[in-house]
Subunit: 234 residues, 4 copies
């Protein structure tokens, strides 16, 4: 499990001043957790509302859907598809999340956003590249974290899952909130950095730094594939 080069400098670390990275290391942050024996994949909110209907600049994309993230979404879709195949090939559990527009109309949405009149729910479909199969769970949630006010942890308990692999959107919003909750719930958590995206490159990098320091092991898709190969005969 430890053969891949974890010490490789991640691109997103570049936004963080070198001396502050040093302080974190001295304080003991950023430790790596061993990958468990029963992993599940959580795909956070990769719906048209966040990808837009096609690859285009984020400035154009937000005219279609206010929460769309632009080209970074479409760049990551083929990698998320590879991640899905990795789990499907091993019959490991997969959970897709998306917004529950009915619950949000009553209990409030995932952010503090106040809208004078609720817009009709839209963009709740999944891009074909990463669409859930018939028998896969699409878990609807009202808030940022996939654990908040959902039965996700009951499902993971029934499935005896011990490790979560998280990807999706946005790194600084629902992904961050879900990873913090995953850690609080006691799961070993892996975040796949090149299978996450965000409308802000800065926020994407800054959140990966926090997550890596405190809540999850942040790896690339290639690193995760290597972990999974060493995990099972494949």
């Amino acid at each position: 499990m430890d053969k891949q080069d974890w010490s490789a400098k991640k691109v997103w670390m570049e936004v963080v001043p070198e001396e502050e990275q040093d302080l974190y290391r001295q304080s003991g942050f950023g430790e790596r957790q061993p990958f468990g024996i029963c992993p599940a994949l959580i795909v956070i909110d990769v719906t048209l509302a966040f990808t837009g209907s096609k690859s285009q600049s984020v400035a154009d994309a937000i005219r279609e859907y206010p929460t769309a993230c632009g080209e970074v979404a479409w760049d990551s879709l083929p990698r998320i598809a590879r991640l899905l195949k990795l789990f499907r090939d091993r019959s490991w559990p997969i959970v897709f999340t998306r917004n529950d527009s009915i619950d949000q109309a009553f209990a409030g949405s995932a952010t503090k956003r106040v809208r004078s009149k609720p817009s009709p729910p839209s963009g709740q479909e999944f891009p074909a590249e990463i669409a859930p199969l018939e028998n896969e769970w699409v878990l609807e949630k009202a808030k940022a974290s996939c654990f908040f006010a959902t039965p996700l942890s009951s499902y993971l308990q029934v499935q005896k899952v011990d490790t979560l692999v998280v990807c999706g959107v946005s790194t600084s919003g629902c992904v961050r909130a879900s990873v913090v909750d995953a850690c609080s719930h006691g799961y070993t958590t892996y975040l796949v950095d090149d299978c996450c995206f965000d409308r802000s490159h800065f926020a994407h990098c800054a959140n990966l730094f926090d997550i890596s320091a405190k809540y999850a092991s942040v790896v690339s898709l290639a690193e995760l594939e290597a972990l999974c190969l060493s995990h099972s005969p494949g």
Copy 2:
């Protein structure tokens, strides 16, 4: 309530590229929520473990307590004391949080940190400047968010609180996690930026940006004081 200059450029915004700030505004993030009629103050983890026993460089401070934040902690203590006075003068509810070292020994600590042997709990005392009074609640928590696995929301319901004012440490850790949960629980939330601190200036600023965009109204102590003055005859 709207007299203070909210458009004032916050110092922490400087870490975020201007064009990404523009995108957030176009997407409709960063809206302000009206301050409610029954506010409570949550002081997150301002114990010696995070402040150290005195003002010193963070490099020195972490030799005393690995999680200490250095001078920024001590710079903010007088402001947190003013914030406490503001709430005490109005008899508004105040909750202090700190780590529950017994629960953490069994259920795991607030971050993914793995320790070969659990260190004895230490630094759980409060600096004199901001110490809780006899009748104020010191809520012990095991995880990052003050809502996670604690009866905080039951207390706030009984007290009919509608607005949370949050301060403390670390901005990128327990403060961020608590503010995200406060938003998910349906509270109007205000974060007082100069009453929060973090071992990393970069992480402090980057998290204030995220929080301001999505989860809470981020104000200075001066702005909050103005809000409270306009709120009650005082």
Copy 3:
């Protein structure tokens, strides 16, 4: 508020031995809580799966839907309709719950019941007598309590609700579980005994006794109507 005769012996008390009732009184159980100023009505699971499609013996009803409760369901529907009118006339919040069959297929159902093959979801419609209006929230839940893994408490917080009035089915199952959670969440809770029903008369009575002793004020529809009349000009 205290004019109605609370000392009236409730029918369901008859199942409990007199001397055990005495012990509860000596121990200080069964205290009454004042009705609040912002009540909400929670109608638990009053769908065809629990009422059946018409009034018939429970032995016949369970051949149509295994969870149907028979005549007691249909006896209570006109009273539940009156309770709904009471809240609609005052524009007080109303929440209907029902089973979320998708979440239950993954996270398990509301009881320990194990089925070799999941039956198709059925009976999720509401009887016409008590059907939700267009703008009323139908909250889907996977487990017994309406609070468990749902955003109900976020909604109640946003609406500033301080008192819950609960009715529905079954008294010994989802109603009991919801009332216990309502108490834990800090709500003053009222249960309307003749607007609740259960396939077992014994379990109905025994659970009303427990609920009355520990978690909620148990009143009749007539008592609740009197409380509401004294509450608002109506």
Copy 4:
């Protein structure tokens, strides 16, 4: 695992009318769940406040502690001690719960009980017969369920527990609430009927009936011992 005589009529069934028991069987309630491979024992609230300081009538006991249960408590202590030994011999996780009097002073107690002045916390010690060992977790909780607002589920996740064995007090209060939550969280749950007690014999029996029908497998200590012997080489 299935060798013991599960069809044995339980004493507590006698309070329930025979024809209502028939209806439950016809509806498919009361199914048995297989015992898992990683069990944990939860000992609910077996402190002096609920046992009293010695075996005496419940009428006398409640003069010492209002929540004391009398002789039934002391009758069950030797059996709870045997249950503890069963788990200690196998190094299986054990969690003791008791009331958190600080949190209860702020967030409210486990029932709707309103006290004009909070009594000083008392009776929080454990009877010597069943006292926790140095390294066993005493989990303090504010509300009825051991899961509500506590990090219990995080601990069980970290320990990979799949089956809960529950005992303690009171059957109709904190035990019932904990078992319902255990089921909702996805755990296979066993309740040991002769290691639970309640101030009311009626409520004890009526709640065992509900729990057995819907939430847990209710077994005697002897049945559980047989299950555990067949489970491990012992």
